[in-house]
């Protein structure tokens, strides 16, 4: 499997580049603006004025009552909305995360700062750390600038409802509890419960690393490279809803990896990667994007074929499952996971075929997940 793009892929990229280079269309902006300004505003203004005029006196009275109530209420009832770009400092008790606007910076001094998003997540900024709210909407995202964050996330049927970004690395929750620390140009991730995905913040086709409970990861700021300690299985631990298949291969003695090398998941029994850098060799750190995509494409085709052959039904059957492939440094597929599991016959067929699939060799190998939509 070559790392080069196929002519079709090159053609697609060329055409996309052409489209991207096209300038924005020039329209008759004056006409659009005139139509817009003539339509809503006079009505809106008139309505607003009329409304205000009619309700001026009651509104003043209401304001006076509200002011009085505010003065006599205990202070903790009113939770002031923190202004964007302000520095939020907490005296005691958790900070109301839902009141933190986008871009709000939170910093801690000698004590931890706890931020709570009611019913969704609770994150703790450890002492001498700082972070900013990068997304306060449905998918909470905190950008860690220095120090460490521990997070406990309320289980949600939607994945990745909470994420911590550090440089170009994104640590997104799939489970419940984890800790992220920034030490200089490294990102240390520790998972105490559930699963987190570590991936680059930018492109869609990079591999993402799944860290399970008890795993620790040490990643670069680009989200692509790293090492795993302890139980280094970055695919699957035991779970009733998941099915993991080891591809039966003899573990190959891996070359000494650089400090940033992510061991291939199933071959990651060595707890500490060697510190010595790899001898200069024409190997990429990880399989190229195009190699991963074309390999995944073959794997998807294979699974479709297996599903067609092994599903015996006269009616239409469709299933959706997440397939996680772990690729070793020599390009072989080391393990595959189906979550939720497929029928045993389909899995057996898939595993047999995947054994023959080979990616380009690389120093680190890779682990990534794709959702399969299979139809019979």
């Amino acid at each position: 499997m070559s790392g080069e793009l196929s002519p079709e892929e090159q053609a697609l990229d060329c055409i996309v580049a052409e489209l991207r280079a096209q300038p924005a269309p020039e329209l008759d902006w004056d006409r659009i603006e005139a139509r817009l300004m003539n339509q809503p505003h006079p009505v809106a203004r008139e309505t607003a004025r009329g409304f205000f005029t009619r309700l001026a006196v009651p509104a003043v009275a209401l304001l006076a009552v509200a002011a009085g109530v505010f003065l006599f209420l205990p202070r903790h009832v009113a939770t002031p909305r923190v202004a964007p770009k302000s520095m939020a400092k907490v005296v005691a008790g958790p900070l109301n995360g839902d009141a933190l606007a986008l871009g709000t910076h939170v910093s801690s001094a000698d004590q931890s700062v706890v931020v709570e998003h009611a019913g969704r997540a609770r994150w703790t900024l450890e002492p001498h750390a700082s972070a900013a709210v990068a997304d306060a909407g449905e998918f909470l995202t905190v950008r860690l600038e220095s120090g460490a964050i521990s997070a406990r996330v309320t289980p949600n049927p939607k994945p990745e409802t909470f994420a911590v970004e550090v440089g170009g690395t994104r640590v997104a929750v799939h489970g419940t509890a984890f800790r992220v620390e920034r030490v200089d140009d490294r990102v240390l991730v520790e998972v105490t419960e559930g699963v987190v995905a570590v991936e680059p913040t930018s492109t869609h086709s990079d591999p993402s690393f799944l860290l399970r409970r008890g795993s620790r990861g040490n990643f670069g700021l680009d989200g692509r490279t790293g090492s795993v300690e302890g139980n280094a299985s970055v695919v699957v631990r035991d779970s009733g809803r998941k099915s993991r298949r080891e591809i039966a291969r003899t573990a190959r003695p891996s070359a000494a990896k650089p400090e940033t090398a992510m061991p291939a998941p199933s071959a990651s029994a060595s707890p500490e990667p060697a510190a010595a850098p790899v001898e200069a060799a024409p190997l990429q750190q990880e399989p190229s994007i195009s190699d991963i995509e074309s390999g995944v494409s073959s794997a998807v085709d294979l699974m479709n074929q297996c599903f067609q052959e092994k599903t015996q039904s006269s009616s239409t059957v469709s299933v959706s499952t997440g397939m996680t492939l772990s690729i070793a440094g020599d390009g072989s597929v080391q393990s595959v996971t189906f979550e939720p599991p497929l029928a045993p016959a389909v899995e057996d067929c898939g595993v047999a075929g995947l054994r023959n699939l080979t990616f380009a060799r690389s120093v680190e190998g890779a682990t990534f997940t794709r959702v399969l939509e299979l139809k019979h």
């Binding site: 002519p7 079709e8 090159q10 053609a11 697609l12 990229d13 060329c14 055409i15 996309v16 580049a17 052409e18 489209l19 991207r20 096209q22 924005a24 269309p25 329209l27 008759d28 902006w29 006409r31 659009i32 603006e33 139509r35 817009l36 300004m37 339509q39 809503p40 505003h41 809106a44 203004r45 607003a48 964007p84 770009k85 606007a101 986008l102 871009g103 997304d135 306060a136 909407g137 449905e138 998918f139 995202t141 939607k158 994945p159 990745e160 409802t161 994420a163 994104r170 913040t201 930018s202 492109t203 869609h204 086709s205 994007i289 995509e293 995944v296 997940t369 794709r370 959702v371 939509e373």
Partner: protein
């Protein structure tokens, strides 16, 4: 890797992934403050502030509408509809995401609604085979070829489902990250990545059905073969 390809009279520069255009970072603090003030004024019905918002963002909206709708005839109406929606619902913008993200979300929703409505209407005439109204008779040959390729590619995009089409355009053409797209289309990042994967895969398959695009792949294939050493060519 930067590939410079010469096909006929057309020179293309295919940028490497790391060189792809990133959207300019507009979120400097002063700009953010200024925009926040404008938005707050818009919420009170301030027409001058709304006009400013319109002028600052109209090109971005028009570009996205053009790419999403693929129909030049509706462009002006759709852009107007987007800003009408912005005016009506700006009070609901709570600053939980960037304004541009919210604006893109409104834009995507307006275009998708229009596309759904268009599907239920009878088609009175087919769209002309040009690229957004360009008069092909007055263009040099290479530009005509490019216009045809663009039109052909929009026909392919039209065959994708709305969901895949939206994420493909937002990622590949607008240069947005999957996490940003996830906020726009209200889907998990994993779902966005999956849609991108399948969109690209479907487009690669459809490419072979469009003569104007297949010829590009054919010429690239020929070029690769021409560059290959003699031994390799013979073995293939």
């Amino acid at each position: 890797m930067v590939a410079s390809l010469e096909i006929g009279r057309v020179f293309w520069l295919a940028p490497a992934p790391e060189q792809r255009q990133e959207r300019p970072v507009k979120a400097k603090l002063s700009a953010v403050t200024e925009l926040s003030e404008l938005i707050e004024r818009c919420k009170t019905g301030d027409g001058i502030a709304f006009r400013e918002v319109f002028r600052n963002h109209r090109s971005d909206v028009a570009r996205l509408v053009q790419r999403m709708s693929g129909r030049p005839s509706d462009l002006e109406d759709l852009v107007q509809e987007v800003f009408l929606q912005v005016y009506r619902s700006i009070k609901d913008f709570r600053g939980q995401s960037r304004f541009s993200t919210w604006l893109y979300r409104v834009t995507v929703n307006v275009v998708l609604m229009q596309r759904r409505a268009a599907k239920s209407r009878p088609v009175l005439h087919e769209a002309p085979d040009d690229a957004f109204g360009a008069d092909l008779h007055e263009l040099p040959d290479d530009q005509v070829a490019r216009a045809r390729r663009v039109a052909a590619f929009y026909r392919l995009l039209d065959r994708l489902s709305d969901k895949k089409r939206a994420v493909f355009i937002l990622h590949e053409l607008e240069g947005m990250s999957p996490s940003e797209i996830a906020k726009i289309v209200s889907a998990p990042v994993l779902t966005v990545r999956t849609r991108l994967f399948y969109a690209r895969r479907e487009l690669l398959a459809l490419l072979r059905e469009e003569p104007a695009l297949e010829v590009v792949a054919h010429e690239l294939r020929a070029e690769v073969e021409a560059e290959a050493p003699l031994g390799e060519r013979e073995s293939t």
